[in-house]
Amino acid sequence: MRLAFREALRSFRRAPLLSALSVTTIAFAIFVVGLFGLVALNLNRALREVEKRVEVVAYLMRGTPVEVVTVAIGDVERFPEVADVTYVTEDQALARAQKELVELQGVFDDLVSNPLPASLEVRLKPGFRDSDHLRDVAERLRGFRFVEDVRYGRDWVIKLDRIRDLTAIGMLVIGGAFAAASVVIIGTTIRMAVFQRSREIAIMRLVGATDGFIRLPFLLEGSLKGALGGTFALGLTYVAYVAFDRMLLRAQFFNPAEAVVFVVFGFALGFSASLAAVSRHLKSVRPA
């Protein structure tokens, strides 16, 4: 293993330009994937923020006793989809309307009695905030005798569902395409490095080196280049994020665990590309 490390480092020293080129190519390939990841991450977070506002509102019949409502809240909170239930009394509804609809202040002042009904605002748990689950919960709420009407912005939620589905498909397709392109680029880069050392491989084989022995320094070299490229790509993505955050929109960066994925992705790509390149090369020089 020590010898393999030495050989891998020797390769870096011997061809610093090619090594730097490999690392840079890997860095830019992963950077493109990273940029897309950053966009996807922020889009996803924005969608989750919007989703948080998704709720089902059950309007209660006037005069429903508080005790009945309290029991019903307990029942609704036990729905598996439900995160929390807020009881809004008639007075609270009026106060909220007065606060939010300042332009109708005159209308509120002329009111003799409060026309607004009490309601239950039901928020769902993440993962249940789609139109199907909302419809199910709404149907169950309608089953309560004292519920007059149930609203959840059906059209709006359906649109949100569509945006979410399109984003997921887009992420999968474009992200997959970027990742595949980076695999090809990195694979080609590593193959060039293997090709450049084909004479050395031939000599190693002649003096009795096993395929495993020949492979190991290449795997280490490729993995190291991949990890380095991943680290540089992370740095580049961070610079892009800072520029975006300061000049255009407030954005979020990857958390530490997500950031580590860059390095691991680079490492894994470098490793697998080296394995494929050197194995293919060794196969091509087997006796026939």
Binding site: R14, G208, A209
Partner: protein, 230 residues
């Protein structure tokens, strides 16, 4: 030790490199493999160190039947052979001693074993003073000596030399040839492919002559092989 029996070698394009080759190299023997370019000398050597496989017939090297040998056993076989080429095939970014040590390192030998062995073979080929020189700092003859030292360091039972003097001037040629003779005198067999008949003439060693892939002369039987078979 090395035994060819009715060996044929055809290449994918259909050309026949070796035709019905049968010979036997004994332990400690020195033999020349001669013939014009394209006669099949290099192919014979490649079959011995399992760079290529015979199309038909049997090649046996130190107990290994190469046709049925697993690819995993090829490195084991090669560690028992010393291989020398016309173009030296040294690693340019390593010193003479590093080139030689590398052969032992790939076998997993410890540095305590490697150092004395490298020193010994460098002295044996007369290059003790140039241990730290890089190939580009050595003459052709010296580079070939390093290649021979590399071939020797695993204590092989045979040195396979493919035109080892092909790139050398007359003086270096004589030096390298004498070195191979000395190695042979110490008990290691040498099979040397060459088209330099001046080198072959005047030596007591066995000569196998190839022509168009067939064996046309074997001095061990002291007459053309074709006549022997008729």
């Amino acid at each position: 030790m090395i035994r060819f029996r009715n060996v044929f070698k055809a290449y994918p394009k259909g050309s026949l490199a070796l035709k019905d080759l049968t010979f036997h190299i004994r332990k400690g023997e020195f033999a020349f493999l001669t013939g014009h370019s394209g006669a099949g000398k290099s192919t014979v050597l490649k079959l011995i160190f399992a760079e290529e496989l015979a199309t038909s017939g049997s090649v046996q090297v130190s107990g290994y039947h190469l046709a049925s040998m697993s690819t995993r056993d090829i490195p084991k076989l090669r560690r028992r052979l010393g291989i020398v080429f016309q173009d030296f095939r040294l690693l340019e970014d390593r010193t003479a001693e590093e080139n030689i040590a590398f052969t032992l390192e790939v076998t997993g030998a410890r540095s305590s074993v490697i150092e004395p062995k490298v020193t010994r073979v460098l002295a044996q080929v007369g290059l003790a003073a140039k241990a730290l020189a890089y190939p580009r700092e050595l003459s052709g003859g010296e580079q070939q000596r390093v290649a021979i030292a590399r071939a020797l360091v695993n204590d092989p039972f045979v040195i396979l030399a493919d035109e080892p003097t092909g790139n050398l001037d007359e003086r270096a040629t004589r030096g390298v040839f004498q070195l191979l003779r000395d190695i042979n005198a110490n008990g290691t067999a040498v099979l040397m492919a060459t088209h330099d008949l001046d080198l072959v003439r005047g030596t007591p060693f066995r000569t196998l002559e190839l022509q168009d892939g067939g064996l046309v002369y074997d001095s061990a039987v002291d007459r053309p092989a074709a006549e022997t078979e008729s």
